[in-house]
């Protein structure tokens, strides 16, 4: 079966595209898939830092597109997940250096030559050339939003632009949802967000302080002992693979709390997806 490519995009910056790309890519690779994460934020690359692979970059996306090297030479294998590869962005060039057409060709090559099961493209913020490049070769789109009006407004705009580009069924990832704030009525919940965006919800990532540490260490949180965001990313990975795992605010967040209680009382039933 041919691999599937997803663009991870949001419109607004700082909502967690890179974090989602890194963790989802890692989670998919841990489940035995051959995964490539591509950083398309040329000039402002981050994905390599978040994944802790910064010091291994020799060739980048533009080198591959311009034919300076073969894809295999540019791909960086992750140190902890041997089925996970990063294709980094160039830091010294800018978004105009490549075109959507070239990006489309690259994605086809990656699928055919390197036989990836999943390709995740981390999109830059904005709706300009960088965004156009990022969506060019993707089969489907994952929209990342936080429960904030401004992020949702931008996500809505992005969904419209994707539709104009014939990507009709983007899936939504809600990032940084805080159960406490939702309960107090200070934060929008998933229903409010879905009500506006009216697209399929793929998963909810709870607000998790551990993300900051994980990002600074350069280790995706799915590789760490974590109770909140990590399991949520793993569930999303399984949903992408086609498993039917129900989503609910309580389910996605409190399920893990329940497990913690169980563990405290010595009922140590490991979640099947825990690694």
């Amino acid at each position: 079966m041919a691999g599937k490519s997803y663009v991870v995009t949001s419109g607004k910056g700082g909502v967690g595209k890179t974090t989602v790309t890194a963790n989802l890519g890692t989670a998919l690779a841990l489940r035995g898939n051959k995964v490539c994460v591509i950083d398309s934020d040329i000039g402002l690359r981050n994905l390599d830092v978040v994944m802790g692979l910064e010091n291994r970059i020799v060739y980048d996306l533009i080198d591959v597109i311009e034919g300076t090297c073969r894809p295999k030479q540019a791909l960086i294998k992750h140190k902890k997940a041997d089925k996970l590869f990063l294709l980094p962005a160039s830091q010294t060039r800018n978004k105009e250096a490549i075109s959507p057409k070239q990006m489309k060709e690259l994605m086809i090559r990656m699928k055919e030559e390197e036989l990836f099961d999943y390709i995740l493209v981390d999109s830059p913020a904005g709706i300009e050339r960088g965004f156009r490049n990022a969506i060019a070769g993707a089969d489907e789109a994952l929209i990342v939003t936080t429960p904030e009006v401004s992020a949702i407004r931008d996500a809505d705009r992005i969904i419209g632009l994707l539709q104009a580009d014939e990507m009709y069924e983007p899936k939504l990832v809600i990032n940084r949802l805080s159960t406490e704030l939702v309960k107090k009525g200070d934060m929008m919940d998933q229903d409010d967000i879905i009500d506006i965006l009216s697209i399929e919800l793929l998963g909810i990532i709870p607000e998790d302080e551990g993300i900051v540490a994980s990002t600074n260490m350069g280790v995706p949180i799915v590789l760490l002992e974590n109770e909140k965001a990590g399991p949520a990313f793993k569930r999303i990975a399984r949903r992408l693979e086609g498993e039917n795992i129900p989503i609910s605010l309580t389910g996605d967040i409190e399920e893990t709390l329940l497990n913690r209680i169980k563990r405290l009382f010595g009922i140590n039933r490991k979640e099947p997806e825990r690694v």
Partner: protein, 257 residues
């Protein structure tokens, strides 16, 4: 000057991402000028902020004529002309000298969303794969009388932030209009869904136009030249259909029973 001839002198056509003002090759310049003024008066709200392409075809414009058109479009109506389309070398040079962008040949655009001309209004779905469903509307079947205002455009789907639907006639949206989305019609607007963006009914001056929505929670409502905005405090908006219309010089919202 016969009325028939003049109505063909200038055509305004709306496409996916721009509007074309097409000047006939046959009409005299004075006819073109008169018709352009006339058409722009009625359509100025459609053209606001939308890139306009001026298509003069084979017509060769004299410097005076060029200046005149520029005056009407830019100065008088504040229209943003993104490019001129011409087959005449003289006109091309004039345009370049005046800093306009030039497109050489008439390009066939695939997606026609609406065609704004006062004589004939028809919605054609040229490329059915693209975009959301645009319900075809054959004006032979749907024609109670020849009055433009009775032409209704039906759109199914969500109007999202940054998207805009404009139509000469009435506009019926089956779906939501999200914050940041805009819908504009010269006649009435009906939204079978939530209206949370901006709606402008009676664009062009018809203040008896109405806006009806199942859930009326707009950012802003405009009817003809009247503008009403949502209160800064969260209003008690029920989940029942409401109607906005102009009464005594301001926009009033009433519950429909």
């Amino acid at each position: 000057m016969s009325r028939r001839a003049s109505s063909k002198a200038v055509e305004i056509k709306g496409y996916e991402d721009n509007i074309n003002i097409i000047v006939s090759n046959d009409a005299s310049f004075s006819e073109v000028e008169a018709e352009l003024l006339n058409k722009l008066m009625g359509a100025k709200d459609f053209l606001k902020g939308v890139p306009v392409i001026l298509d003069v075809g084979n017509r060769s414009l004299s410097p005076q004529q060029f200046v005149k058109l520029n005056q009407i479009l830019n100065d008088r109506f504040n229209i943003m002309v993104s490019a001129i389309r011409t087959n005449s070398e003289q006109t091309r040079r004039l345009a370049v000298v005046n800093g306009w962008k030039v497109e050489h040949r008439r390009q066939q655009r695939k997606k026609i969303i609406e065609k704004l001309s006062s004589s004939k209004i028809r919605n054609r779905k040229v490329n059915p794969v693209k975009k959301n469903v645009i319900v075809e509307q054959d004006d032979k079947k749907l024609k109670p009388n020849s009055d433009d205002k009775n032409d209704t455009y039906l759109y199914r789907g969500t109007i999202r932030s940054g998207q805009r639907k404009a139509h000469v006639g009435n506009l019926l949206i089956i779906g939501d209009v999200n914050p940041g989305g805009e819908i504009i019609a010269t006649g009435d607007i009906v939204v079978i869904g939530r209206l949370r963006g901006m709606a402008h009914a009676g664009a062009g001056g018809n203040s008896s136009a109405e806006i009806i929505a199942l859930h009326l929670q707009p950012m802003q409502l405009r009817i003809a030249d009247y503008i009403g905005r949502a209160p800064d405090q969260d209003p008690e908006s029920g989940s029942y259909p409401e109607k906005a219309s102009v009464e005594n010089g301001s926009i009033v919202i009433q519950r429909i029973k």
